[in-house]
Each structure stands twice: as structure tokens, then as C-alpha cells.
Symmetry: C2
Subunit: 174 residues, 2 copies
DNA sequence: GGCGATTAGTTGACTAATCAACTATTGAGC
DNA sequence: GCTCAATAGTTGATTAGTCAACTAATCGCC
């Protein structure tokens, strides 16, 4: 098994365990991201676009307003408009302005979008299962619990930089 | 504590625990990435550029060849050349062609680069510690162990798409 | 020592992400 | 019902990431 120190060939060991944990977390997540990428890219969508389609399938027929989708994404992005532009261009998503509140635009997954997801469901589930096959059910539960706990602390740290819309650019004065 | 189901407001629960774990992993990693980003961006470097500087500091005076850096990065990227171009433009890194093997280019961190890292060391360590403060030392150890184990399975799944150089583009025929 | 294969890295063309600034619509208070 | 603030989303300009194709240097080996 690849200890982190070995894997990144860092000469000195980690100063703190939390630093080691943070690096392990990021490296593992990157591998998962690339595994997902390898599955969805042959169908000409990115992992983020896949994420949007999954969210919209979960949302059902009435769809969701654009920024609501952005909030639910696994990786937050300010580029939600153009992300959905690209999905709309491929006819995987359709948009319609809300009549009761004309500021909002509801996005819905199309038949084509649903068909694409159905093709990907099996491979993605298999990949997740196989990728994490090293871990027992108990270990998976434990991992999820630890990650949930970590996010509790992190949500304080990140102080929810994007309230709803774009990042609120807390940059230095200079 | 925010259960994942709640957090992403997914109507139906996860089909498998490994899927839930994969999502928890990615969401947590994204939060860590943004926390790091919030610290390093005011100094006009990206988290990836920060990662390169850290690697080069670890490598010492003799530096490292370009692609060796790419291999050690937390998030793999094929754009290593231009990433280092940007660091060189800011005088944080210097490059020098290797005399014994003129194909290689050794990259070294500059005095300015080291000075920048010194400014960031404290805040980054504090952020890691504080962010993961919800977890006890035992829990952190457990988390690292579980993540290491997960990567063992994943490295088989991802089948090391980039051997050394760029991604070897195993794309569909059509 | 010459020739094909391999390795190291760069470049060009294209796509995607980012942030600020903008329009359109709604809500709140008077 | 008018004005000011807030919300929802888009657009423009710039920067960064991606992949294929390329150059240059070295290696294997006959």
C-alpha cells in the first residue's frame, strides 16, 4: 500500500497529521475525479456536466433554477451559466424562464440527457464499487462519518465564500 | 453535522455506500481546496502553483526535472510546462537545462519563492489544523489509513493513465 | 557510428474557468 | 406607486487548462 510520503517522494515527513490527512484527501479525490472522467469523457461530457445532469435527474420534471444547481454541485463553480450553456447546446438540458418570477430560469434534463445518464449509471456504479473495493462496508461507513465530521469544521473555515452568486472577492486592498 | 444527503438536497438516498463515500470524498476535498485557495490567492498564486513550490522546496538546491514535478503533484496536470512558465515569470522558480542530459530541464525554487512559502507556512498549517480540528488524532490517523487503502484500489482503477508524459489519450474510435 | 525507438519538454489551437461588470426583475419601505 | 436595495442570471475580457503535434537529445544495438 502506498504511504503518502512514499507516493509523493517528499523527503521530510509531514509536520502535522492534519496536513498529512489534507494531502491524502486531495490525492484520493483527484484519483476518483480522474476515474469518473475516464468514464464520462468518451460521451463528450465533463465530470461537472455529469454532476449537473445527475442533480437535474434528481430534481424531476419541474427542474431547478440555475443558481440552485450551482449550490448543489460537488465542486462549486461560478461558471454555472456557461456550463449549462454547453449542456443545452448538446440538447441534454433545456431552459425555460419562470413565469411567476421572471428573474429565474428553470433547467430541466431532456430525454436525451436521461438516456445518457442511463448509459452511464452502470459503469459509474461499478467504478465506485470496484475503486473502493479495498474497503469493507464498516470501513466505508467510518470513512463517510469522518469526512462528514471534517466538513463540519471546514464549512466554518471556508466561511461559505459564495453566498449564492459569484464569489464575493475578499481580496487584498493593494 | 451535515449529512451528505441533506447537504446536496438529493431527494433519494445513495444507492450504494461506496457512491456515498465517493461523493463525500469529493465534496470534502473541494472544501479543502477552496480553503487553501483562499490563503494562497491573495499572494497571486494558485493552489497548484503553491504545490509546485512546496515540491521544489522539498527537493532542495539541485531542483527537479520538469516532469518529475508533474508526477509528484497532488492533482495531476498535463499543463506543467505553462504552470512553471508562470512561476518563472514571477521569479519564484528558475530553470536550467541539465548538462549531462540536455533533454532535461531542472527547476529550482528561488529566494523569492522560498520567502513566499515562509509567509504561507503558518497560515496553511493553521488552516489545516483548524479545518480538521473536529477530528481527534486517532480519527485523523484512521482517516489517513482509510484514504491510503482507497487509493490502493483506485490506482488499479485509474490504471495510471499518464505514464510519465501527457495523458495517453485512450479515447473511443468514433 | 548510424538509425529507429524512446524520453523530455515545448508549442499551437482550442476549450473551459474565472472575476468584474452588467441587465432585468422583484421586494421593502415609505 | 416610486425609489432603493437585493436577487437571478448573463456577458466580456482575461487567464488557465487540455490534447495533439512537434523538436531535441539520448539510448539500444547491430
Amino acid at each position: 500500500m502506498p504511504s503518502i510520503q512514499e507516493e509523493i517522494k517528499q523527503s521530510r515527513p509531514f509536520r502535522t497529521r492534519s496536513q498529512e490527512a489534507a494531502v491524502a484527501l486531495m490525492r484520493t479525490a483527484d484519483m476518483v475525479r480522474r476515474a469518473v472522467s475516464a468514464i464520462v469523457e468518451p460521451h463528450d461530457i465533463t465530470p461537472q456536466q455529469y454532476n449537473v445532469l445527475r442533480i437535474l435527474r434528481g430534481a424531476g420534471d419541474k427542474g431547478l433554477p440555475t443558481l440552485e444547481i450551482a449550490e448543489r454541485m460537488i465542486e462549486q463553480t461560478p461558471g454555472i451559466t456557461r456550463l449549462i450553456d454547453r449542456l443545452e447546446a448538446k440538447d441534454l438540458v433545456s431552459r425555460q424562464r419562470c413565469e411567476t418570477d421572471r428573474r429565474q430560469v428553470f433547467c430541466t434534463i431532456t430525454r436525451e440527457g436521461l438516456a445518457l445518464l442511463r448509459k452511464l449509471d452502470g459503469p459509474i456504479r461499478d467504478a465506485d464499487d470496484w475503486a473502493l473495493a479495498e474497503l469493507s462496508t464498516r470501513e466505508l461507513t467510518s470513512l463517510v462519518t469522518l469526512l462528514d465530521k471534517a466538513r463540519t469544521g471546514l464549512s466554518a473555515a471556508v466561511t461559505q465564500r459564495r453566498s449564492k452568486n459569484q464569489i464575493n472577492s475578499t481580496r487584498r486592498i493593494g
